[in-house]
């Protein structure tokens, strides 16, 4: 470690110090809600946002801690997205936990630590720091899932996530071990070169397979998605939103880093594997979401489908051959599309889970489709924003979700057109057909909101007033969803789609 290395800790220090501060301030025997604690957590995430803002136009990248962490554009974008998600989760949790009578300091500490783990994952350039980030994130999330410990489903969610998640970590570690055997190094960047070596190739292929299984588990891609619906449904609603978005951001950033090394040599056939995984994941997520009766569970399955769409972009990720013959992925449209899609998914999903956390009643009830009946007339604003979030997740033009989907499918078509291989274009077409299937269950939300009569006991639904934190998250997500869905460009406001895309390109400029 050198003094230079501490610079790369800047974005990470916020959540970390805030977590320690909450432990010191909140560690008391009498367990009452303390309004200072969520503010401390928000200050932690604010620190990261400011840190990212100060460091942003990065000239070059800085490898810190003997190559364990890499302070580059991608790491900063991950820190940005994760801290936005974490701040939203904190704001939602204040109201949610108050209503559930579980407003305890440990909740915020765990949210901060899981966000810290996600950031480390996004900044890691060797297997050890990747595992460190992954475990920090996962262990905190296991506990958070079971935070409503008096509710059976929350505990079930925690146990299921813990058991299956530890198994996935085991796969991950085994893959790491094999790769270390094959390459003699923990660095991602030694992976590409070692693949050409015929002697170590079998070890590396099997190792990458195990690692891939670990990653696919974390992002909830089929066939490793079985845990996801139960876990997402049972977890506290703000945590479900954070899990769905934050874990995806961290895992996809790490996958982009690893794949940018593996794709240096095309003979591995990994694209074919990912091709099928993308297809199966989309189909499983969308078809299963059709049959759900609970909106929260539907969003869980839709999260699987979104992982499938994002995997399309992983399949078609291509770079240009730079100087010294290495492939440079900084201009890759697919990688940029992933980051933009994650941003769009983050705002729409946090907003949707924000509305759900407001509607949810004791014991996790009140989230069936029927409970939304006629709500669009009773709570006009809530109905409007929930419709916009659903439309964004479905990918209707005018919302950020559309731009994300357009970029992902566009990058697949772009990679396929002009080549003899039609599989990329076929995958894009299959993706579009899948999002048509997805339209059905998102529009069901709108039908319940606006085309059904108000349910009998609607007067007792939810609290009379949306809490300040929840309201803030919902409004911010609403604006963000329209803002990055060409709204900002349309009204000629700053930082619309084009600048966001430029930012994502800047994020990838120093990838390798």
């Amino acid at each position: 470690m050198t003094w230079e290395d501490t610079k790369s800790l800047m974005p990470l220090l916020g959540p970390f110090l805030a977590a320690l501060a909450i432990l010191v301030v909140g560690g008391r025997k009498e367990r009452g809600p303390n309004p200072l604690l969520p503010l401390l957590a928000l200050a932690g995430f604010g620190w990261t946002l400011v840190g990212v803002g100060c460091l942003w136009p990065l000239e070059g990248a800085h490898d810190a801690f003997a190559g364990g962490l890499r302070l580059d554009g991608l790491g900063l974008v991950v820190a940005l997205l994760v801290s936005l998600g974490g701040a939203a989760c904190t704001l939602l949790s204040v109201d949610y936990l108050k209503r559930r009578g579980r407003n305890l300091p440990e909740f915020y500490v765990l949210v901060l630590f899981s966000a810290l783990g996600m950031m480390v994952m996004g900044m890691s350039t060797n297997w050890l720091s990747l595992l460190l980030g992954l475990e920090t994130m996962s262990l905190a999330l296991y506990v958070l899932c079971g935070f409503l410990r008096d509710e059976t489903r929350s505990v079930e969610s925690s146990i299921k996530y813990f058991l299956t998640g530890s198994f996935a970590s085991g796969l991950f570690l085994f893959g790491m071990g094999l790769l270390y055997g094959g390459t003699g190094s923990f660095e991602f960047r030694d992976l590409g070169g070692a693949m050409l070596d015929a002697q170590s190739q079998p070890l590396i292929v099997v190792g990458v397979g195990f690692l891939l299984a670990g990653f696919l588990f974390k992002i909830g891609a089929a066939p490793l998605h079985m845990w996801l619906p139960d876990v997402y449904e049972g977890a506290p609603t703000p945590i479900t939103g954070f899990m769905a978005t934050g874990v995806k951001v961290a895992a996809f950033a790490a996958v982009i880093r690893v794949l940018s090394e593996i794709y240096q040599h095309e003979h591995v056939g990994l694209r074919d594997v990912l091709w099928w995984i993308a297809l199966i994941t989309m189909i499983v997520g969308n078809v299963a979401a059709l049959a759900q009766t609970s909106v929260k569970r539907m969003l869980a399955y839709s999260s699987i489908a979104h992982a499938g769409y994002l995997t399309i972009a992983l399949v078609v990720m291509r770079g240009a051959v730079g100087e010294n013959g290495a492939i440079d992925f900084s201009g890759s449209l697919a990688a940029r599309a992933i980051l933009y899609y994650l941003l769009a998914y983050l705002v729409a999903n946090m907003g949707a889970f924000g509305v759900l956390s407001y509607l949810e009643k004791q014991g996790g009830k009140g989230l069936a489709y029927e409970d939304l009946a006629g709500l669009g007339f009773k709570h006009r604003f809530l109905g409007l924003v929930l419709s916009v979030f659903a439309l964004s997740l479905a990918g209707i033009p005018g919302t950020a979700g559309f731009v994300g989907k357009f970029l992902v499918f566009g990058s697949a078509v772009d990679a396929g057109v002009g080549t003899a291989d039609s599989s990329f274009v076929l995958l894009a077409v299959l993706g579009i057909l899948n999002s048509l299937v997805g339209l059905y269950y998102y529009l069901r939300v709108l039908i319940q909101l606006y085309a059904k009569p108000l349910a009998e006991d609607a007067s007792t639904r939810g609290a009379p007033l949306v809490g300040m934190g929840t309201g803030l998250v919902i409004v911010a997500s609403f604006i963000g969803t329209l803002w990055w869905g060409f709204g900002a460009d349309f009204l000629n406001l700053g930082f619309g789609v084009e600048p966001a895309m430029r930012m994502m390109q800047g994020a990838l400029a120093t990838l390798r």
């Binding site: 470690m1 050198t2 432990l23 010191v24 560690g27 008391r28 025997k29």
Partner: protein, 120 residues
């Protein structure tokens, strides 16, 4: 590895397996047998087990166990640090461990404040 090393390893393994077997057989064959009721009862730290072991324990035992592991692992990091200290770059090396211990100190502070170390 040399084959001769493997052979000597096998001999050691064979001896290690044979000695306890032979001792048990010798004890069976020549030892005096004068059984009493006390000799055949279950031995557990001198006391008879009052209840079945498969029951719910108070969570305090787990708390203490977890805390022990946390602070035990901390020491595992201290030893290599102490060994490398002379060869180190000095202040920064020292500072790293101080930061690490500081984090654990915050943990300990939290544990004490929360009352996890009080039994009653």
């Amino acid at each position: 590895m040399e084959p001769s090393v493997l052979v000597s390893l096998l001999i050691v393994l064979g001896l290690a397996a044979a000695i306890p077997v032979v001792m048990v057989i010798l004890g069976r064959a020549f030892g005096p047998k004068r059984p009493t009721e006390v000799k055949y009862s279950v031995y557990e730290c001198g006391l008879e087990p009052p209840v079945d072991a498969r029951r719910r324990f108070t969570v305090k035992f787990y708390e203490v166990a977890v805390l022990f592991v946390v602070f035990d692992v901390e020491v595992a990091f201290l030893f290599p640090w102490a060994l490398l200290f002379k060869k180190s770059s000095g202040f920064l090396f020292f500072g790293e461990m101080i930061v690490f211990l500081g984090i654990l100190g915050v943990g300990l502070f939290y544990v004490i404040k929360r009352g996890a170390l009080e039994w009653e």
